[in-house]
């Protein structure tokens, strides 16, 4: 069996045993349950009802949760493995560092995205079982899944990059929190505040919003349903209306994917460029 697959299997089994998967599933399930409990399923304020409405709101909330879960799951991986001596032990086995890296990245991706996939599949099955005719549900599920998976990829990449560069797990945690706070702050409210405070050019504000994978994911999910939604905020509103649903979706999936791939590449370069043997 290929070493990357063995590492993937091992890390996944370890995540299962240490209840990491359970934790992420609980986070997403709590959000889902909360929205159902709040009565969003029956609400028609935004022009559509049913599970698709819940899925939309869950996705909107998950866009905030996924980066945090991904950063927590990844930001200490390399630095902790290095400090605990685990790296030393694992890399004395006949495997390349890249195999280890690929296996661990893949397992973290499954840990972060797997529970969401499961939850959305349950929503689809529940819709079928109850005989609810909700035409918007499947496209909504697919759209949400694609966007959140891409967002998770971006923050897994950022988390690994932090992890590969940090000199201590504590520093990695602080950097991960900073990354999450920065991404969360670069939503409408902070951007508009910055626009007013420093009289920034609107183009700069919009570029910053679009460059924030969290915001681009949010716009991709919400803008695809209705670009006039007030929850998009002024910056999101402008972007969604200017770019259109297809472009926002393409950016919402493509940009985090590119960012995540770049960050993972940098993280892997950190491993390869250090004086470890390949």
């Amino acid at each position: 069996m290929n070493a990357a697959r063995i590492m993937f299997r091992l890390e996944l089994a370890d995540a299962l045993r240490s209840r990491w998967l359970l934790f992420t599933a609980a986070v997403y399930a709590s959000v889902f349950s909360l929205f159902i409990w709040l009565g969003l399923r029956e609400s028609s304020v935004l022009g559509f009802t049913g599970l698709s409405r819940v899925v939309l709101n869950v996705s909107n909330a998950v866009v905030l949760a996924v980066p945090l879960v991904a950063l927590v799951a990844t930001s200490q991986t390399v630095v902790r493995a290095r400090q605990s001596g685990f790296f030393e032990l694992v890399l004395s086995q006949p495997m390349r560092r890249t195999d280890w890296f690929v296996g661990v990245v893949a397992s973290r991706f499954v840990v972060v995205v797997g529970p969401l996939l499961g939850l959305l599949l349950i929503a689809l099955l529940a819709s079928l079982a109850t005989g609810e005719r909700d035409a918007a549900l499947l496209p909504m599920v697919l759209r949400s899944l694609a966007v959140t998976a891409s967002l998770a990829w971006a923050f897994i990449g950022i988390g690994f990059w932090i992890s590969a560069r940090a000199r201590s797990p504590e520093r990695a945690t602080v950097l991960a929190l900073l990354a999450w706070l920065t991404a969360s702050a670069l939503h409408d409210f902070a951007l508009i505040g910055a626009l007013l405070r420093w009289r920034l050019e609107p183009a700069v504000v919009f570029a910053l919003a679009a460059a924030n994978p969290e915001e681009s994911a949010r716009i991709a999910i919400l803008g695809g349903i209705d670009p006039d939604l007030s929850v998009l905020g002024p910056v999101g509103f402008w972007l969604a209306n200017t770019l259109g649903p297809n472009a926002t979706l393409a950016i919402g999936i493509g940009w985090p994917a590119v960012l995540g791939t770049f960050a993972l590449y940098r993280a892997q370069r950190c491993l390869i460029k250090s004086d470890l043997v390949g």
Binding site: L91, S92, R96
Partner: protein, 373 residues
């Protein structure tokens, strides 16, 4: 390099900035040897081990394990060795059997071979009672045994152990050394430690490193004699206590015996020893590696004196170790000491932190230098 050389290091160097963790270290370990790799903290033991196990690359020199270059052919090197680092970090949520299975998968062992090998390592490492227990539940000693079992699971011809007993209690240490002796019968073992008793009990040969250099390498007896202070104890019967040999007369005074002994080639110093017996007792100091006992015997026998006692008092390994590595300890106790003019003091931890420093393209050097300083 002959074919039975399993570990070969030639001018191995590792620099972290201006600090030389290893400075042209050369040695060979042959098939079936159990070698103790000794040195004080920060001497370069772990760095050498990490280079030999393909974890870090050397700054200079060559290292081959089982005939493969550690830098050019790391995979065959890793395949041929079992490694137990100082702290054996394991997957704590796994049980022992699952962990061994994982190690076997990485070593490409098929199911049947794994079962056979697992039976063997469980027996050798004494893991039968804990096989289905989570590693989290095990004591340090048992975790160390699990670490050793993973190192042995693929039946490697070479075993590298980095301070494997540092976290063990005396009973566990004794058991571990028993395992080591058992294992060492069939393998090349390199045991890094600063516990000299372990080396004396498990190894026939030792390599001592100090400040990144090899300061002694050879069989333990040879190393014990290396300190330049070989001591002999000679005792000759007094004239009043008996008759001489071959009709000659026994020595009348200490001075007579002392005079004779000081003329033996290789003797540096003769010191009288107090004794309760009716004898002239002396201690001879020699700087020579050669054994002086035959010459001393001949000199005494030619005089027809009766030799009551003659033995060579080889120093303990600990004496030699202290003698060879005392400079390290002195430096550790002197603030700002830099005897080489270039080298800076660095503990094992500092060494590790330097190794842990990431390099990442352009900005890596700055960060690396920071950690190294």
């Amino acid at each position: 390099m002959t074919t039975d050389v399993m570990i070969y290091a030639q001018d191995l160097s590792k620099h972290y900035g201006s600090f030389r963790a290893l400075d042209r270290v050369s040695f060979e370990v042959r098939r079936g040897e159990v070698v103790g790799f000794l040195g004080p903290n920060g001497a370069g033991k772990s760095t050498t081990m990490r280079i030999l196990t393909c974890f870090i690359s050397p700054t200079g020199g060559t290292a081959r394990v089982h005939g493969f270059d550690v830098f050019d052919d790391p995979l065959p090197v890793r395949e041929s060795l079992g490694y137990l680092p100082q702290r054996a970090p394991l997957y704590l949520e796994m049980n022992v059997y699952e962990y061994l299975r994982f190690a076997a998968d990485l070593r490409h062992l098929d199911g049947e071979t794994f079962k056979k090998r697992a039976r063997s390592v469980v027996e050798v490492c004494g893991l039968a009672q804990v096989l289905t227990k989570d590693i989290r539940q095990l004591s340090h000693g048992y975790r160390q045994r699990v670490g050793l079992a993973q190192a042995l699971i693929h039946d490697p011809p070479i075993l590298i152990l980095d301070e494997p007993t540092s976290d063990l209690d005396p009973n566990e240490k004794a058991e571990f050394l028993d395992y080591l002796k058992q294992i060492g019968k069939e393998r090349t073992v390199m045991l890094s430690t600063h516990n000299l008793k372990e080396v004396e009990s498990a190894c026939a040969r030792a390599i001592i490193v100090s400040r990144g250099r090899v300061v002694a390498d050879g069989p333990l007896d040879e190393i014990r004699a290396k300190s330049g202070n070989v001591r002999y104890v000679v005792s000759v019967q007094e004239s009043a206590s008996g008759s001489a040999y071959r009709g000659k007369t026994l020595p009348a005074s200490n001075a007579e015996v002392s005079d004779l002994l000081s003329k033996v080639a290789g003797v540096r110093k003769v010191t009288e020893l107090p004794t309760d017996e009716r004898a002239h007792a002396f201690e001879l100091a020699s700087e020579q590696d050669a054994d002086l006992r035959p010459e001393v015997f001949r000199a005494v026998a030619d005089k027809g004196w009766v030799l009551l006692e003659l033995h060579r008092d080889t120093q303990t390994l600990e004496d030699v170790f202290r003698h060879l590595t005392i400079g390290d300890e002195r430096r550790n106790r002197t603030i700002g000491a830099s005897p080489d003019g270039e080298e800076e003091e660095a503990s094992e931890e500092e060494e590790e932190s330097a190794e842990d420093t990431d390099s990442d393209d352009d900005d890596s050097d700055e960060e690396g230098d920071e950690a190294k300083s």
